[in-house]
């Protein structure tokens, strides 16, 4: 087609011809002038549809042309649909309906266009926001999407999508403001006072809560301003001024000494003067004090126990004899019993998990509650879900191996305590891996490219006895040596050869029941990506899964042994990894590091993929016992020359992972979905 645009007079002539305008004493001059600006392709489309419409009725053709003149540019690709909608309306209800239908179509199209430009989805901002929140002070918060914005003090819910504001920047800011206010609710004590007494006086509880949320927003904004003035400024700009009748309350709540009690007082005042609906401030989320108090109470019980137990240790009155417990913590200034440690003043004297718990308690109470400062005494707190029915091994075959387990309370081994069964992992769906490879084809390509740089295959080795190139530096040096009477070196060549990385890696995959769903998918996908990556590197690697059900039933699943190739059978076994029972980690570490040690490489690395702390059926292995045993197993591995690294999806992993793996030897991935993307990068850094 000729690309030249048609001029107005040409358009006018064509339209006249199509619609027989001159017979009706109409002039196409005006629409033709507007159509002149369109690209040729669009002009032809308008003419085409004008002709089509004119076959039904000249009036319809005229209507389409006159509306198209102003609408065509904005409709773009949807122009054809727009005309069809018009023709359809004409067939059903005549010319007047056609005009209406055409206008409506254009209007909805315009709105949709605007929305998709300006709206922001939760998924698009999640990564950015979760990092932002992570960096802020206070206990870690989980970020998920929901209907409204609210928090139960441990999880933040934010709406699926925001298009309240006209453009994307403003909507992103709105997300940030919402999240920041919810964070501030947990940080500055919104839930530290029970609002039920006040709420009961409201005939409409929903309205009462809305007012409570609004007054809290006023107070919290001022709290934020003290720590993060820029953020508070952003929020203030976003919301605009408070309504005039609330300005006094806002000023009162902005005082630095204001607490949640002041917000409740403002509520009561509102109630007395007769409150209507709250003014609409989109950045103020909802409040659910009941849910929040439930989560808060559970947390307080848990953390109180942790702090009290830590104090036991500090004061040398541990429930199981002081000596065993004390040795587990770094040397403390206050080892003697007479010296009383007050965590109110010296948080640093507590061991790291208790320190976190104490900080979290301070967040909940404003100080550490005095009852937490009483040591728990003998028979300290244990997780409550104790189960006393012992499970006997249902398996009749003898175990493949027995392993000792470390009991920190006895400070001694339990001999042949764990019964280990090693078996081939069941094969899964053979199409699954192919599907993952297809889905991540791009990622795999880029990982391979990056890994190839690591391979060092073409790395020139200097100062060799023979090689493809002359090493000039060495030649010069040798000549100089000869001149000076010293014996010159005969290593004068550069040899390009593959540098042996000499690394064996064991992947230990958590197959406990808690990995069911996303985590399991993420683990399997990560393994596929890892295999693809490591294959290109040539490192020796193996994959084993572990799960179990009490000490008499510790299972290890062979997915890929060191000698196995990454072939169809291996791929099926990866696909077949599924969530099973529990996480008795110590015995798995012992068994797999034993296999790893037999590898004849210089470096040996044990990488654990997991979703949480060690755990087993019953309450014995849960908590401290499991962590201590696992720590012991990792130390043993370390002594045998095995380095350990842990990749976990447990957001609270930061509590115990430093204890297990050391401060630099673990990564916490906040979102299981991101594991596959991250894992290859972690591996590259780890071995680069």
């Amino acid at each position: 087609m000729d690309e030249r645009k048609l001029f107005a007079h040409e358009l006018e002539a064509r339209l006249d011809e199509l619609l027989l305008l001159s017979l009706r004493q109409r002039s196409a001059e005006e629409p033709a002038a507007l159509l002149e600006a369109l690209p040729r392709q669009m002009q032809e489309r308008v003419l085409h549809w004008a002709g089509v419409a004119a076959q039904t009725s000249d009036d319809l053709g005229w209507l389409i042309v006159s509306l198209a003149a102003t609408r065509a540019a904005s409709l773009g690709e949807n122009f054809d649909d727009w005309v069809r909608a018009g023709l359809d309306a004409y067939d059903r209800s005549g010319l007047a309906a056609t005009r209406k239908a055409l206008n409506e179509f254009a209007e909805t199209h315009r709105n949709r266009e605007q929305r998709s430009q300006g709206g922001v989805s939760f998924a698009a901002i999640e990564g950015r926001l979760s990092r932002f929140l992570h960096a802020l002070d206070g206990r870690p918060l989980k970020l998920v999407s929901g209907k409204t914005a609210w928090t139960d003090t441990e999880t933040l819910w934010l709406p699926e999508r925001l298009d309240v504001a006209p453009d994307a920047t403003a909507n992103r800011l709105l997300y940030k403001a919402m999240a920041a206010l919810l964070w501030a609710q947990t940080r500055f004590g919104t839930f530290n006072l029970d609002p039920e007494a006040e709420l009961e006086l409201w005939s409409d509880r929903g309205r009462g809560l809305a007012w409570f949320a609004l007054f809290e927003a006023m107070r919290l904004e001022a709290c934020i301003a003290l720590e993060l003035p820029g953020l508070a400024l952003d929020i203030a700009r976003l919301r605009g001024p408070w309504p005039a009748d609330l300005a006094a309350a806002a000023a009162k709540l902005a005082r630095p000494e204001a607490t949640v009690a002041d917000s409740l007082a403002c509520m009561a005042e509102r109630r007395r003067v007769g409150a209507g609906d709250t003014p609409n401030f989109p950045h103020v989320g909802a409040l659910d004090p009941v849910a929040a108090r439930r989560v808060r109470a559970a947390r307080i019980t848990r953390e109180m126990a942790i702090v009290r137990r830590a104090l036991n240790v500090l004061r040398g009155t541990g429930p199981n004899g002081a000596a065993a417990d004390k040795s587990d913590y770094p040397p403390l200034a206050a080892e003697s019993e007479t010296q009383v440690v007050d965590p109110q003043f010296d948080l640093l004297s507590l061991p790291p998990p208790a320190r976190e718990a104490a900080k979290s308690l301070m967040q909940d109470f404003g100080e550490i509650p005095p009852e937490a400062l009483h040591p728990a005494g003998p028979g300290a707190w244990q997780p409550v879900d104790a189960v006393d029915t012992p499970i006997t091994a249902s398996c009749t075959t003898p175990p493949d191996a027995f392993y000792d387990e470390w009991d920190y309370r006895r400070a001694a081994w339990r001999h042949d305590w764990c019964h280990l069964y090693e078996m081939e992992a069941p094969a899964g769906d053979h199409g699954w891996v192919d599907e993952v490879r297809r889905r991540h084809a791009h990622l795999i390509r880029s990982i391979r490219r990056r890994f190839e740089a690591l391979r060092g295959e073409d790395k020139p080795q200097r100062r060799q006895f023979d090689g493809e190139e002359i090493d000039l530096d060495a030649q010069v040096e040798a000549r100089a040596d000869r001149k000076s009477g010293a014996e010159p070196s005969s290593r004068l060549f550069i040899h390009r050869r593959r540098v042996e990385r000499s690394l064996a890696v064991m992947f230990m995959v958590d197959m406990s029941g808690s990995t069911k769903g996303w985590v399991n998918d993420a683990e399997r996908e990560s393994l596929v990506l890892l295999c693809e990556a490591i294959e290109s590197l040539g490192d020796s690697y193996a994959i084993y899964g572990f799960s179990g059900w009490t000490r008499t039933h510790c299972d290890i699943y062979r997915i890929k042994r060191f000698g196995d190739r990454y072939d169809a059978a291996t791929r099926q076994r990866i696909a077949g990894i599924e969530a099973r029972d529990y996480t008795r980690m110590g015995v798995a570490v012992r068994h797999l590091s034993g296999l790893l040690v037999r590898q004849n490489t210089r470096h040996k690395l044990l990488v654990t993929l997991s979703d949480g702390r060690p755990d087993d059926y019953g309450d014995e292995y849960r908590g401290r016992y499991g962590i201590e045993d696992t720590r012991r197993a990792l130390l043993e591995a370390r002594e045998k020359g095995v380095r350990s690294y842990c990749v976990t999806i447990d957001r609270h992993g930061a509590d115990y992972l430093p204890q297990l793996y050391g401060p630099a030897h673990y990564s916490v991935i906040d979102d299981a979905k991101k594991l596959p993307q991250k894992i290859a990068e972690i591996y590259r850094k780890l071995t680069g």
């Binding site: 990092r131 010069v476 916490v668």
Partner: protein
């Protein structure tokens, strides 16, 4: 190669002198704010002729500490930034050809031993394994450096001191220091200073007022919480000082922080945006 032009030869000689390892003698006191007993430990180690290892995250003041100690002890300082192609000859020295003669050039380590200087090997784990071994005889009771090429055995004077640094936060298993090397050193742990102290350092080094310094330190502490969750390491004091210097040079604080802190730390879009948000939040 075979240049016999006498004029050319003197030029080369002059050139060689320029190439010799510079012994830095610090004229004025490098600013350093002690946070623990590191000054005392280092001085005691210096008196006892013991080598010292500095551990800590990047940009927390290890290099500055060594400079400060060199000034305090009034000894010259030789700094070597280690990299994975660093050979023994690069440290010890080599013969060069000048016209028809060969001339021996002392490497930085030998130069430091001869002068009784402090030799600082920065990021020692980056160096090749076989290279790190040459420092062994200097770090035990022998305190001497054999130079095989020359058949020379240089005994270190009491003023010579070896200092190495490394960052335990690096996660590569292939870049670990061998126990046989580590166990020769007196080790000092470095970490980011407390907020108040760090603010004073940033204010002093960056030339900004106390309030700006406090905000920068706040930003720094927020980024450090992202270690392991998007960042390999949070902003070190050095980055904060850079930002402060940009601010002192007239940049608006958010722009300075973006350029000096956010961009150097992260490439990934989410993390970068989160850092931008943090900067906006603090200022």
């Amino acid at each position: 190669m075979n240049n016999t032009n006498p004029a050319g030869r003197t030029d080369v000689r002059a050139d060689l002198r320029k190439l010799a390892t510079p012994l830095v003698r610090l004229a004025s006191e490098p600013y350093y704010h002690a946070t623990g007993d590191e000054l005392a430990v280092f001085e005691a180690a210096a008196r006892s002729c013991l080598p010292v290892m500095l551990k800590g995250p990047t940009g927390c003041g290890k290099t500055r500490f060594v400079e400060h100690m060199a000034w305090r002890l009034k000894r010259p300082l030789v700094t070597v930034a280690c990299h994975d192609d660093l050979t023994t000859a690069d440290l010890v020295g080599r013969y060069l050809i000048v016209g028809d003669e060969t001339v021996w050039m002392d490497g930085p380590l030998v130069a430091a031993v001869r002068a009784g200087a402090i030799c600082y090997l920065d990021e020692i784990v980056e160096a090749r394994k076989d290279t790190t071994v040459v420092i062994h005889p200097l770090t035990d009771s022998r305190r001497a450096l054999p130079v095989e090429k020359r058949g020379e055995y240089i005994e270190a004077p009491p003023d010579f001191m070896l200092v190495i640094s490394y960052n335990p936060g690096y996660q590569s298993v292939l870049k670990e220091m061998k126990p046989s090397t580590r166990q020769r050193f007196v080790a000092l742990d470095f970490d980011y200073p407390e907020a108040e102290v760090e603010a004073r350092i940033v204010a002093h080094e960056g030339g900004v007022d106390a309030d700006t310094a406090k905000k920068l330190v706040k930003l720094g502490s927020l980024t450090r919480k992202l270690k392991g969750a998007g960042l390999d390491e949070g902003a070190g004091t050095r980055l904060l000082v850079h930002a402060a210097q940009l601010i002192a040079a007239g940049m608006a604080p958010p722009i300075a922080c973006t350029a000096a802190i956010a961009r150097p730390l992260a490439d990934e879009a989410d993390t970068r945006d989160a850092l931008d948000d943090l900067i906006r939040a603090v200022f």
